[in-house]
Amino acid sequence: MTTQTQTAQKNMLVNANICTGCRLCELICSLYKEKETNPAKARIHNEFYLMEGMRVPRVCINCTDPKCIPACPIDALKKDKATGWVVMDTKLCNDCQMCIGACPYGAIRLAPDNDVIKCDLCGGDPQCVTMCETQAIKFDSRQPQKITLARQGMKSFLDKEITEK
């Protein structure tokens, strides 16, 4: 059940159906975070399903019940009660990659230098959403319908993919 506090919390909302695959989110992310341009070091990743015409933005959507937290052997991942965000303690993290395997959305990434990287919402001012023309990624309050819509977009596509195979 969604509680009152959760509704007030802001989160990353993804609608893969309207993503155009321009990758500006990846570029601004890497430039803002790493001071160089490199999508491989971005905290958001645009997955191409070319033949299906789908582009799926993979980014941490701060699950209500995150699978990455119990997977972390050294408790470097925590759910912040006030914001609802899944926070990674980068100093503590030893890049063991268990969380990458646990995340069902492929949202935690391995950078080329074997760093495990995860979206931290730029501390509440995510840069990527400012460059998203179609608002396929949005930083907005966790309203139940919105989340359902976003998940449906992803789910209808994933279902289709499975049945087609």
Binding site: R23, I28, S30, K35, E36, T37, P112
Partner: protein, 626 residues
């Protein structure tokens, strides 16, 4: 340090060299460094399909950076279609991936002993066996490469069967529609037994001033998305351009029989495409404009057909030009050309020619293999790509050069195949009613070309002050006037050269609409990324240098003034309609050409003068620095 990789397919040898920064500053990236490499790695008169002719991929200077719409890649090689300077520009994410793999240019020479594809994984470049991919279409090839490499994020540019058969207008395709189309680079790739180039890159691109780049790109994005043209393009793509040009009789209908296509109304309207077929919009690398339609045909004989991106070439070259009024036939034919790796634009021109001579009785069913080639015949539109792909029948006749096709079908048929001075088939635009546009198009180094010299601002009815301010010199906004048009054309050509060098899409520049980017905005980006403190004059000079470099390639092969001549039909008056009687007058055309040559610093024969080459620091070419 930006690098260039040389791949010798004959000896299976790979060499990687750094590119000196001053050379990059002189030629920028993309088309600039591509034309430099082409000139330096070829000799006079080489055969386009010989192993010595290099195939060069070069992403733009800013490709892959956090810079709006600068995600494009250039492909250079002597053209198998015309036998002259050839190049083409490709969108999608291929160029950026090359940059992330550390390559500013990729030069492929030689000929592989058996079908091969190239896999570039950052610094590692492998030549892999492509026997399993040979004979497959471009979509299957991309799927096959992903399957073999177990990574669907690898970016692939490949050829279809048409390229394997060295069809003169075969293209190199990336994703479902991004193609290096004109001038037949696909045939060049096929002649090397090279099926595909697959790239995976994860290297960083350095930025001199990250904070400034963030600020500039964000500001430019916020500006552009508030312009009218952005709103239009993100919804209709450039399909609207076909309607605009039809209304002003600026197109070619039924292979130059008319210039206005009233039959299209109610059938080929852009809104019909949007309502019935378009599913969503997709974008190229780092572009917010997302002008690529994803479509699906939901009913009728082509039910279930899916594809991407008809641009204005689709209703123009598959509609008006061939007398067809059905969107679904357009899409069926268009999708096939992409799938088989055939340049859609040139395909439409040859199809229109065949229909024209069929209609005139110069060829019959015995030549076409029983296929009905009347204007608007769906059978011909859908079957011809297959015949070209398999290199059979009438498809084979038109696939290996225009001269060969005319030889086989009879000299009389040659009168109706309209080609510009450089031998490239004339695009379906009615250039004779515009002056700067005609000059810009016809003097393009790869042949007539709306992407090089078309001056769209010429016919937008801009006030003289506005147009003059954009061009930087007093300019007459009257499209039929002859004065001031030479500099207009040169300005447009330089602007477009600059876009191609940086990887910038022309939909974001003043090629497309007056309130978009000129030289200043990309300049800001270059300086933030490189810290070069380049000036506008230096950027202008670099564009001019690249243009002259391409020209030198053609001049070395014996090109002169004759090659800047438009097709004969443009000197004949228009027979009907609102523009009746308009044409190019030879005297005025020649005077305009003289004026243009003077501005370019060329002699009256269209050859760059020694002092011009010296001014542009081209007098020591070929310099063989890389």
């Amino acid at each position: 340090m930006r690098q260039v990789a040389y791949v010798d397919l004959t000896n299976r040898k790979v060499t990687i060299k750094p590119i000196p920064e001053d050379l990059l500053r002189k030629f920028l990236g993309g088309r600039g460094i591509g034309s430099y490499l082409l000139y330096n790695h070829t000799t006079k008169g080489i055969h386009p399909l010989s192993p010595e002719n290099p195939l060069i991929f070069s992403p733009g200077l800013m490709t892959g950076q956090f810079a709006n719409a600068m995600g494009r890649c250039h492909v250079n090689g002597k053209s198998p279609d015309t036998g002259k300077y050839g190049d083409s520009n490709i969108g999608g994410a291929f160029g950026a991936e090359l940059m992330y793999a550390g390559l500013q240019a990729l030069v492929i020479t030689g000929k592989a002993a058996k079908p091969t594809y190239l896999f570039i994984d950052n610094d590692k470049i492998q030549l892999r066996d492509a026997s399993k991919l040979w004979g497959k279409d471009t979509f299957q090839t991309q799927l096959g490469v992903w399957d073999e490499l177990q990574d669907p994020d690898v970016k692939v540019a490949c050829i279809g069967e048409a390229g394997e058969h060295q069809v003169g207008f075969a293209c190199i395709l990336h994703q479902l529609k991004r193609s290096a189309g004109r001038t037949g680079q696909g045939a060049l790739m096929g002649s090397k037994n090279l099926k595909a180039v697959a790239v995976r890159g994860s290297q960083s691109l350095p930025v001199k001033d990250p904070q400034k780049l963030l600020e500039i790109t964000r500001r430019q994005y916020e500006y552009i998305r508030r312009t009218k043209i952005f709103e239009i393009t993100k919804r209709w793509s450039n399909l609207f351009a076909w309607v605009v040009n039809n209304e002003r009789e600026g197109i070619v209908v039924r292979n130059h029989r008319a210039n206005f296509y009233p039959e299209g109304y109610g059938h080929l309207d852009v809104d019909i495409f949007l309502d019935k077929y378009s599913e969503k919009m997709l974008a190229c690398q780092q572009c917010a404009m997302h002008c690529e339609h994803r479509y699906e045909v939901k009913e009728g004989p082509y039910k279930g057909l899916k594809g991407e991106g008809p641009e204005w070439i689709a209703p123009l070259h598959f509609g008006a030009l061939v007398g067809n009024i059905h969107w679904d036939v357009i899409l069926a034919s268009f999708e096939k050309t992409n799938r088989f790796g055939i340049d859609a634009s040139t395909f439409g021109l040859y199809l229109a020619w065949l229909m024209d001579i069929y209609d005139r009785g110069l060829i019959g069913k015995e030549q076409t293999g029983g296929i009905d080639f009347n204007f608007g015949s769906a059978e011909a539109m859908v079957k011809l790509p297959e015949l070209i792909n398999k290199d059979e029948g009438i498809g084979k006749v038109i696939s290996h050069g225009a001269d060969e096709a005319i030889r086989q079908l009879g000299d009389k048929t040659g009168e109706f195949l309209y080609r510009c001075g450089r031998g490239l088939t004339q695009e379906a635009v009615n250039d004779r009613i515009l002056r700067a546009t005609c000059l810009g198009d016809q003097t393009s180094n790869r042949g007539n070309d709306h992407l090089r010299g078309r001056c769209n601002l010429e016919f937008m009815g801009l006030p003289a002050e506005v147009l003059s301010k954009i061009i930087g010199r007093p300019t007459n906004p009257d499209p039929y006037a002859w004065d001031t048009k030479a500099f207009f054309a040169m300005w447009q050509q330089n602007l477009n050269t600059m876009s191609d060098c940086l990887g910038l899409c022309k939909f974001w520049t003043q090629w497309f609409a007056p309130d978009l980017f000129g030289f200043e905005q990309p300049l800001e980006v270059i300086n933030a990324v490189t810290g070069w403190n380049m000036t506008k004059d230096e950027l202008w000079e670099a564009s001019e240098r690249v243009w002259n470099m391409e020209k030198m390639f053609n001049v070395r092969d014996g090109e002169d003034r004759r090659h800047d001549t438009p097709p004969k039909i443009f000197f004949e008056p228009i027979k009907e309609g609102a523009r009746k009687g308009l044409c190019l007058e030879p005297d005025k055309w020649n005077a305009l050409l003289d004026e243009y040559y003077d501005l370019r610093g060329w002699d009256r024969n269209g050859i760059p003068k020694p002092e011009t080459l010296k001014r542009l620091k081209l007098d020591k070419e070929p310099s063989h620095i890389i």
